[in-house]
Homo-oligomer: 321 residues x 2
């Protein structure tokens, strides 16, 4: 959480001027976002977020991310809408970085989601999937099953230093997932990182979905598996079935899962847990000295992985028959 | 520039609710402010800044700072206005820290002030001094002349490591200032830290003055001396006389300097330069490992101190006879 690139206000004002959104009235660096630098912007025409993309986001992917956000906001999903400049471009450059301006969304993210939050999230996710169905650009999910072994390779030698036996547990789960990973589930554009800090609520209703910088084209039900991991476990790593029920029924109110998706759900949930276990483990083992951001605990996802390994059917996540 | 204290959104919403400023719609940590943690807050009734006061601000001084801001905003100076809660209190506690909510001000700070900015600043400073004249609480200026020797003592032994001869130059300036420091200049409530990052502009006009956390009761013309140092030097440390003229004439349009103040101005400017030289030197020598904030260069103020040492009269700052 930091502003990695500092921009002089004068430079920022000149950049904003190209977008036809009125005179710059205020700009504040925002202390959140681990990947990019964000500024809150007030102009005579409204409120916006200016993002400078730092190295971890590939510049070649930005048109996909911005295009998807623009498409979804046109479909009524509340997500940031990129502003196009006078030449019709959403992507510009500022302080040597790719940069874009999107609309500001109200809402606060919740640290401890309630059952009602999970239900509203399920509905929002289904809207995202349905709204994205006719967005045609494709972005491969580099962090799906074939991306996990390279991640593991980067961490395997030191994994047991984090916890004795971790490497062999990951190896076993990975081998099984590589063998059994479903190939023919309904695909579409997914968020792929829909954690509570990427969702805004006003009261109990989702008011906005942000941070599309892992969005990609993959199995829709994998997104649901990410959400089961990120929203339905309690701080003690127990699974809250009522939250699972709310998430799944909220989703199915707008989009019914196919029988193949339902059958695959435990496997997808295991895969999602392994994906976050692996990326967190790599980050954990590679914290730069003096880092601003405390890395997230990878072992939280080992515990979730173990839970999913014991799940026999989607009913155990709260899916009603 | 950082948020030192992280507050869960739920806690923050509960705090905001006490102030009768509507429902919390958004909250973002702001990546600026070296002393405190700041959050930008949007509620159904408007925009606010929530500040959590960290250790460097003495809790006992907060009623003075908040009271002065409230008083000045009542007098038409555009500065943050503290919001009082339902019990009439402006100061509360959040996440174990003293905390207050003030109104949000539009405007952007300028890194390279123009002549017009300096003129508008001079006028705003005079309004601040006139508006503060009937605010009766008193806060001693701990960073005036009698505070400088203790600061020097904390840095003297290592000063020559920053620059050969620095300790003896400071010693000479300090001894002279202690002997000659004027005692009977018109006093009042001053800002005492009116650097460009504490002033917002819309176009060329001051739209807001912020960060009153060094405000105190001292010679009004000392504030002007701080501004001459902070606003009228170019990046190469040359003094821009046109900016000095604009600052001083903007000020005198609303408040005329007495002959004693005019006579004292070179000495006050030297004192202000020494004050920032000393505090920057102490910070420079005490950077904690892994610090987020790069300390400011103390030697910039050594060069300014030398400039002022050669100034014979206020005319050299651009004061018209």
């Amino acid at each position: 959480m930091a502003v990695y690139t500092e921009v002089a206000d004068e430079e920022l004002a000149a950049f904003v001027a190209r977008f036809g959104i009125g005179e710059l009235l205020a700009a504040k660096g925002i202390a959140e976002g681990v990947e990019n630098s964000n500024y809150f912007i007030h102009t005579s025409e409204g409120f916006f977020i200016l993002t400078l993309y730092e190295k971890r986001v590939s510049e070649a992917d930005l048109p996909f991310f911005l295009g998807l956000m623009e498409h979804l906001s046109g479909k009524g999903l509340v997500c940031p809408r990129p502003v196009r400049d006078r030449h019709g471009e959403a992507l510009g450059r500022l302080a040597g970085r790719p940069a874009a301006i999107v609309t500001f969304l109200d809402g606060i993210s919740v640290k401890r989601p309630s059952v009602a939050h999970c239900r509203s999230l399920g509905e929002a996710l289904a809207r995202l999937h349905k709204g994205g169905a006719d967005f045609h650009p494709v972005r491969h999910n580099a962090l799906s099953v074939e991306g996990w072994r390279p991640l593991f390779a980067a961490a395997a030698a030191r994994a047991d230093g984090v916890r004795q036996g971790l490497a062999s547990q990951i190896e076993a789960a990975l081998t099984q997932l590589e063998r059994e990973w479903p190939k023919n589930l309904p695909k579409g554009n997914i968020h792929a990182d829909l954690f509570p800090d990427n969702v805004f609520f006003i009261g109990e209703e989702v008011s906005g979905v942000i941070d599309f910088y892992f969005a990609c084209t993959d199995a829709l039900s994998y997104d649901l598996a990410v959400c089961l991991n990120a929203w339905c476990f309690e701080p003690d790593n127990s699974f809250n079935l009522t939250k699972g029920q709310a998430l799944l029924s909220g989703y199915q109110r707008l989009r019914s899962l196919t029988s193949a998706e339902i059958e695959a759900l435990p496997l997808l949930a295991r895969g999602a847990a392994l994906r976050f276990l692996l990326t967190r483990l790599v980050d954990w083992l590679n914290v730069p000295p003096g880092a601003l951001v405390k890395p997230k605990d990878p072992l939280e996802y080992l515990r979730k992985l173990r839970f999913h390994a014991r799940v026999a059917s989607a009913a155990e996540y709260g899916l009603s028959a």
